[in-house]
């Protein structure tokens, strides 16, 4: 056991570096989730109104992404893309992997939202002679997305908690920085505990926000999110 159990001087020494690294974590979270929202919507729409082959392919892709580890997907993107002549830097590969993985999850959320729109809305749009694309954009999505927001928020929190995985392809986010600091000084307890506290704090805040949003949306229109 080392001389002191918890060294505040060391905490103050490593804190600035961890704060810098947390900016990288936040960047990865925000861009990964933005990508996930777009990819998820594309998957959900392809699955709903695409031709048969596209529908089957999308279902297959979503299932494969959802039932295999993010870590393997990360390695595939980072190590395999260069063989096809596309070299990604670690951060881009990481954001892409997060976006794809959570895009697959988000597509299920969107799908639930889309299927929650009453059939009559589609029929009315057909009766008004609206093309399918316009129906989707102007009629269906505005009704499908608000009830999906709380579930999407939960996946934002989940994605945030998966960002430490990017440390394995040497993105200098929180976890990687904490490990480097630990290996320099042979004291892991402070940096890793601080990283844990950082995640705990932000997850609790985010969870509270999602709950508040849920309550607000639930009040807004009578028929969503009981």
């Amino acid at each position: 056991m080392s001389e002191s159990f918890w060294d505040w001087a060391y905490v103050w020494q490593v804190l600035p570096e961890l704060v810098d690294a947390s900016v990288v974590t936040v960047k990865a979270t925000v861009s990964g989730f933005a990508l996930a929202l777009i990819i998820g919507l594309a998957f959900a729409i392809a699955r709903m109104i695409g031709p048969g082959w596209l529908r089957q392919t999308t279902i297959g892709i979503v299932e494969v992404i959802r039932s295999t580890p993010l870590l393997i997907q990360l390695f595939l993107l980072y190590y395999v893309m260069p063989e096809f002549g596309l070299t990604l830097d670690a951060m881009t590969a990481g954001v892409l992997a997060l976006g794809l993985h959570y895009g697959a999850y988000c597509s299920e959320v969107y799908r639930a939202g889309l299927e929650g729109v009453p059939k009559g809305q589609w029929e009315a749009a057909v009766a008004l002679n609206l093309p399918p694309w316009v129906t989707m954009k102007r009629i269906i999505l505005p009704q499908a997305i608000p009830p999906a927001v709380p579930a999407l928020g939960n996946y934002l929190v989940a994605l945030f908690k998966e960002t430490p995985l990017l440390s394995v392809i040497a993105v200098l986010e929180l976890m990687q920085t904490a490990k480097l600091l630990g290996s320099e000084s042979f004291r892991y307890i402070e940096p890793i505990t601080l990283v844990g506290l950082f995640f705990l704090f932000f997850s609790l805040v985010a969870a509270a926000l999602v709950r508040a949003l849920e309550r607000r949306l639930g009040r807004g229109s009578g028929r969503v999110a009981r």
Partner: protein, 247 residues
């Protein structure tokens, strides 16, 4: 009974197809020599998977019941556990147990750390599943039991939990797939699981696409097997309950 008439046979066929495709890919790309290594990796992955689910399945109901019915101290302890493990990353928990416990003078085998960390992580999510299922059992069941003069623990044991059990199986299926995916993290604390072996073989052969595709197929097959198992369990558990499509 004809095996193919079973409603879940497709899942089994799909899982076997994944394993067969993985094996075929390995043979076709000259990676056949690495198959025993991969199998050993699958063994470690399976060990962590079973150990972790055992921990989760024990911890989750305990935490859920403490949160629901414990005195205030016990309740806050359970809430603290659930929120801490749900609020931080599985990887952070793994590293914390791996790097920080030795400072307390506790040095555990990496395998023990892996099983404990992942089991406690999934157990925290599982606790919320159990709690939700217990609360979903209709109030009338409690009232009827109390009319029959049953104590709280008798009611839980004989009336509420047997009904809640059926409700929570689908959610547990999802959690176990999350656990399977999380087992890939143990490669980062030096355990030679499937992901670890994949990296090793990749470094030796540089056949990156092939190696990771094979491993992807194996994970897919394993999660199909989990889904199959949980569907079977759900079918068996819902016998005699007037719910769902009936069998």
């Amino acid at each position: 009974m004809n095996a193919l008439s079973h409603p879940h046979w497709r899942l089994l066929v799909a899982a076997l197809a994944c394993f067969a495709a993985a094996f075929a890919l390995a043979s076709a790309t000259g990676l056949a020599r690495s198959v025993p290594e991969l199998l050993r990796g699958i063994g470690v992955t399976a060990t962590v998977m079973f150990g972790g689910s055992a921990v989760a399945i024990v911890v989750a109901p305990v935490a859920a019941l403490c949160k629901l019915y414990g005195g205030s101290a016990i309740r806050w302890l359970a809430i603290g556990y659930i929120e801490t493990f749900r609020g931080t990353s599985a990887l952070v928990q793994l590293f914390w147990l791996f790097f920080v416990l030795p400072h307390f003078g506790i040095t555990l085998e990496p395998l023990t750390v892996a099983i404990a960390a992942l089991g406690l992580n999934i157990g925290a999510y599982g606790a919320e599943v159990v709690r939700g299922a217990v609360l979903a059992v209709p109030r009338g069941q409690w009232e009827a039991a109390s009319a029959l003069n049953m104590t709280q623990s008798q009611t839980l044991r004989r009336v509420v939990l047997p009904q809640a059990w059926v409700l929570m199986i689908p959610a547990w299926g999802n959690l176990l797939i999350e656990l399977l995916k999380a087992t890939s993290l143990v490669s980062l604390i030096t355990l030679a699981d499937l992901t670890f072996k994949a990296q090793q073989i990749n470094q030796n052969t540089l056949q990156t696409v092939e190696v990771f595709s094979i491993v992807l197929l194996v994970y897919l097959g394993l999660s199909l097997l989990i889904t199959l198992g949980m569907r079977q369990l759900e079918r068996r558990a819902s016998f005699g309950l007037a719910r769902g499509p009936g069998t």
